[in-house]
């Protein structure tokens, strides 16, 4: 536990060296919701339908913003491996008296905390400023979803961040992953309204599973049994990603 706390402390010290960075971390999802969400709310005045229920775009998009925030934090944290590698500290870290799992868990615990604060700000101010009707009884599930979502994506991206040595290659990978995963998911639009081939992509996309769980937890949209299945699928994705990440970081110079 001492080592996990040391990793978290290090992440905290680095984050707090830049107020801009901190502001971006805390308020970016809310800004997204207020600009992008409001824009689309006006454009789709009739709202959108999920599993037969109609709702305003802002309410629909709240879960999308939250999962995007998780995904974004995971990307930044995974990208941190490149920064650490460029600064030479990455390999030194791996000689510190801690296990590889402690290293990864410490990193993700701090960033999960960040995701929780981010989600609290986004949900609270989103509800106040946009008048969203939320399922406050399921707020615990939102928190759970944010933590596991951030962890799942971080572990998934860690494997690539360590295996891919070139910064430009990793950037390209991120751009493609970002584009395909986000636009091939239920983040911006209901899956039911997509063409069949894109629906198929969306159904096997962990970002859809994550977003759908958060959508259910924030506004109660979707069928509970389908969401439960998607939640279970995401847990499997997380477990596999964690195992792969630990395996990769165990021998980082071979990867």
């Amino acid at each position: 536990m001492k080592m996990i706390l040391a990793v978290m402390y290090r992440e905290y010290r680095i984050r707090t060296t830049s107020l801009t960075w901190l502001f971006y971390d805390m308020f970016m999802p809310l800004t997204y919701l207020l600009i992008f969400g409001i824009g689309f709310e006006s454009a789709f005045a009739g709202g959108v339908a999920v599993a037969g229920d109609r709702m305003g775009y802002n309410a629909f998009f709240l879960a999308g913003v939250l999962s995007m925030a998780s995904f974004g934090i995971a990307i930044n944290t995974a990208y941190g491996f490149f920064v650490d590698r460029d600064n030479g500290i990455f390999y030194e870290f791996l000689t510190y008296p801690m296990t590889r799992s402690e290293f990864l868990v410490g990193k993700i615990l701090f960033n999960s905390l960040l995701a929780l604060v981010q989600a609290a700000i986004t949900i609270t101010l989103g509800a106040v400023l946009l008048g969203l009707a939320l399922r406050w009884d399921l707020i615990g599930l939102v928190a759970f979803g944010q933590v596991l979502g951030t962890a799942g994506w971080f572990f998934f991206l860690t494997t690539f961040a360590i295996r891919i040595r070139r910064n430009d290659m990793f950037n390209t990978f991120l751009n493609v992953a970002y584009f395909v995963l986000m636009f091939g998911s239920s983040m911006f639009y209901p899956v039911e309204s997509l063409p069949r081939w894109l629906q198929a992509v969306s159904f096997v996309n962990p970002l859809t599973w994550h977003t759908d769980v958060l959508r259910y937890a924030t506004i109660g949209a979707g069928a509970a049994e389908v969401v439960a299945l998607e939640g279970a699928a995401f847990l499997c994705f997380l477990a596999v990603s964690f195992a792969l990440a630990v395996q990769t970081i165990r021998n980082p110079l071979r990867a």
Partner: protein
């Protein structure tokens, strides 16, 4: 006393082969053997690509060997990497520093990772900063420091903690002479306290001054291991002899050339020669020369570590892999 208490670092028949997708396999370590005694400063010398850094990476659990065994404080680096990491600290080749943190935060963070009690961290950081001349930079972010200062911060971190084994990979690279001196003094002091130090360096003078024992490594094998005197004695036993006369006469050169010299050069008053100790008696040579012309001054210097290093590596380069001589 357990074996590992006498020799905290033990390497036996260590092989590491890098297999890349786009290149042929590279054998970085090829059956390397060595032991480092407790409290010893052990230097690994060799040209670039000799396998020094690979050995440190194996010992610090960054990579696994292909075969053979390596133990640190009695723990196998493959089977018990976590235990090994609990007994080491390492300065690797890169400038491994937290560039976004201040000097003080770098030291504090490092202290936390090595479980130094919180109330002692500040105290130790102050002492290390004083030792390495970092006090005036304490609140400066490392990203704003020069390369040499960054390196100083990196090396200073290691002296925050009391791990029994320290790995230093070219630790003084990029440091000015004053800080290099401070670093060397700190290394010596910590070895005196019983820490075992394994270092690599390209600066042979530094190795000569600092190390209790040295291994010259080439193509993944130890060409020679021993203390400085022993290593020097394994060379061609060459001595440089400079003899100064009032004037240089042709007979002096004639007399000198009767001896099997490795080098013979003359200036207007001085004769510069290199001789192999086993082949030429220095006294006999000086005696012969003094009969030709009175000697004003003479100097005899033994081979430096650099001479031995170049000779050994030159031989191994020409003749392929030499057998281990240790």
């Amino acid at each position: 006393m357990n074996l590992h208490e006498n020799s905290p670092i033990r390497v036996h028949d260590l092989v590491k082969v890098y297999r890349g997708k786009s290149r042929n396999p590279v054998k970085a370590l090829d059956g390397l053997n060595m032991e480092v005694a407790r409290g010893e400063i052990f230097g690994l010398l060799g040209r670039n690509g000799a396998g020094k850094t690979t050995l440190l990476r194996v010992l610090s659990t960054l990579i696994e060997p292909t075969s053979g065994t390596a133990e640190v404080c009695g723990r196998n680096v493959v089977k018990e990497p976590y235990r090994v990491r609990q007994s080491i600290c390492a300065v690797l080749q890169e400038n491994a520093v937290e560039v976004f943190l201040s000097v003080l935060d770098n030291l504090s963070t490092y202290g936390r990772f090595h479980s130094i009690p919180r109330r002692q961290i500040r105290e130790r950081a102050e002492s290390v900063m004083a030792q390495f001349g970092l006090e005036e930079y304490r609140h400066q972010k490392v990203i704003d420091l020069s390369g040499g200062l960054k390196r100083r911060v990196q090396v200073a971190k290691v002296f925050m903690v009391d791990k029994p084994v320290v790995f230093l990979d070219e630790a003084t690279t990029g440091m000015d002479p004053v800080n290099k001196r401070a670093t060397l003094d700190a290394i010596r002091e910590h070895a005196r306290q019983g820490r075992t130090i394994l270092l690599t360096t390209h600066i042979l003078q530094e190795a000569e001054e600092l190390c209790d024992r040295i291994a010259i490594v080439d193509q993944g094998r130890c060409l020679v291991t021993g203390d400085l005197a022993m290593i020097k004695s394994m060379a061609t036993r060459a001595y440089d002899i400079n003899v100064t006369f009032e004037r240089m006469r042709p007979e002096i050169l004639e007399t000198a050339s009767r001896y099997p010299l490795l080098k013979l050069r003359s200036t207007s008053t001085t004769l510069e020669m290199s001789v192999r100790g086993s082949e030429v008696s220095t006294f006999a040579l000086l005696d012969a020369l003094s009969h030709v012309e009175p000697i004003v001054h003479f100097e005899v210097t033994s081979a430096s570590l650099e001479d031995v290093f170049l000779e050994l590596l030159g031989t191994s380069g020409k003749e392929g892999r030499a057998g281990e001589k240790s």
